[in-house]
Amino acid sequence: MITHFLGMEVARQLNALGADVLAVVTEIRLRTDKPMILSLKQMNSGGSRRNTMTSDYRPSVNDITETIERVSRHSYYAFESELAQGYITLPGGHRVGVAGQAVVEGGIVKAWRHIGSLTIRVAHSVRGCANEVLPIIYADKCFHNTMIISPPGFGKTTLLRDIVRQISDGGLTVGLVDERSEVAGCYQGIPQNDVGIRTDVLDACPKAEGMVMLLRAMAPNVVAVDELGGEKDASAVEQVLNAGVKLLCTAHGYGLEDVRGNPALARLMERGAFERFIVPGTACGVRNSGFDVGDSECGKKRWRVVDGC
């Protein structure tokens, strides 16, 4: 349970809310001296909105510091590089984002002097959420190079995880580069989330290096990677495709146009690197109503698959 990784007072306050609330928490926001705010998955009436809940509890500086010590598993030194990027991943793939006063050296954030807010995003594996899209991207033992595009919090990582699990169990060897430990949620190198029986995970490994390493070392049928974006990533993707290995990846955006706006990814698209794009279906109203991204039950979100050819 996630409260195991939090400071004593924060855990106590959360536990006081009761098990049924904790079971549907998707996000916990802690800010020094400000009320704790929770996002909850709405379970009843098939509603399509996320609930938020503002608690009376205001974490003190000490509560935040204690929570930092515990989320870093008493090993701040071990998570320096992750923290410098603004987050720590917990066993189970939950991600804790931090914000505060940065210590900058040579233009790069090296550490945090004071951490004032924490956002804890609770990972949810949704088995079977890829059922609808799977026949379109993986048919007749042939996997099509696929990119999942969606805004943050919509469930692309969840979908990626389920696709990886299903194609891996279905017979393809998958090499997964899990730079932020979100997909497989590795703890001490062992995936905590089910990512299939034929999946090799490069945990906490930079994407570009990881993709090339997998090619050389693990002979995968499919390389899976979360959140492509940079120039380096794109050239690694080219190497993967040149080697005849299939690719499954995700990118931030609301649709194809957003991805075309990223020069590195646009180049790949021009090259015809992707055969399938999975984008949020219009039915769930992403375009129409801004950030109201619908129910968190991934299966109900009705993804749309666009043919890239």
């Binding site: 855990a11 010590e69 870093s72 008493h74 090993s75 550490a111 001490q188």
Partner: protein
């Protein structure tokens, strides 16, 4: 007469054993300290090269270290992994109270061991390494002094034990 002789021999032997025991005690304290230093050196490389999280590093050290240090680190790692809401320092102090009696360390040594616990859990790599170095420096200095002193005192305690035993036997005769 025979009984007297046997009694006198027992007194001499007992006193001599006491002398040997004291001579050994001083060296034990140095050995206890040096074992802790060994654990700290392993911790230092676990941090520097592997970035091993503290609970795992502690259990790893516990497997390799001897004397009081092995069980202490194993216990520390296990409690830390299971702890609910406690800080590393709180767990460290809890473990110290458990193992304290079985060691030869002096009060001033415990101050350093406890002080080291205060640095655990929230420091970045460089600061954690500095904290380790501080503790290791203390141990090096202390252990060297103890060793020297022990060498000097060993002979004294032993002869004191034997001579004291003989004296007591003569007086009691």
């Amino acid at each position: 007469m025979l009984m007297r002789l046997a009694g006198a021999a027992a007194v001499v032997c007992g006193a001599a054993a006491l002398g040997f025991y004291y001579a050994a005690q001083e060296a034990q304290r140095a050995l206890d300290l040096l074992e802790f230093k060994k654990a700290l050196m392993v911790l230092s490389s676990e941090i520097e090269y592997m970035r091993t999280p503290l609970p795992v590093a502690a259990v790893n050290i516990g497997k390799r270290a001897e004397r009081w240090v092995g069980p202490m680190f194993t216990r520390f790692g296990e409690l830390l992994a299971l702890s609910e809401g406690e800080t590393a320092y709180q767990v460290w102090m809890k473990v110290i109270t458990e193992v304290k009696d079985g060691t030869h360390l002096a009060q001033e040594d415990w101050k350093v061991v406890e002080g080291f616990g205060k640095t655990l859990g929230y420091l970045d790599r460089q600061m954690q390494q500095n904290a380790i170095r501080y503790a290791v420096d203390y141990i090096d200095e202390k252990a060297a002094g103890l060793q020297q002193q022990a060498d000097k005192n060993r002979k004294m305690y032993r002869s004191l034990g034997i001579i004291g035993g003989l004296l007591l036997a003569v007086v009691l005769w």
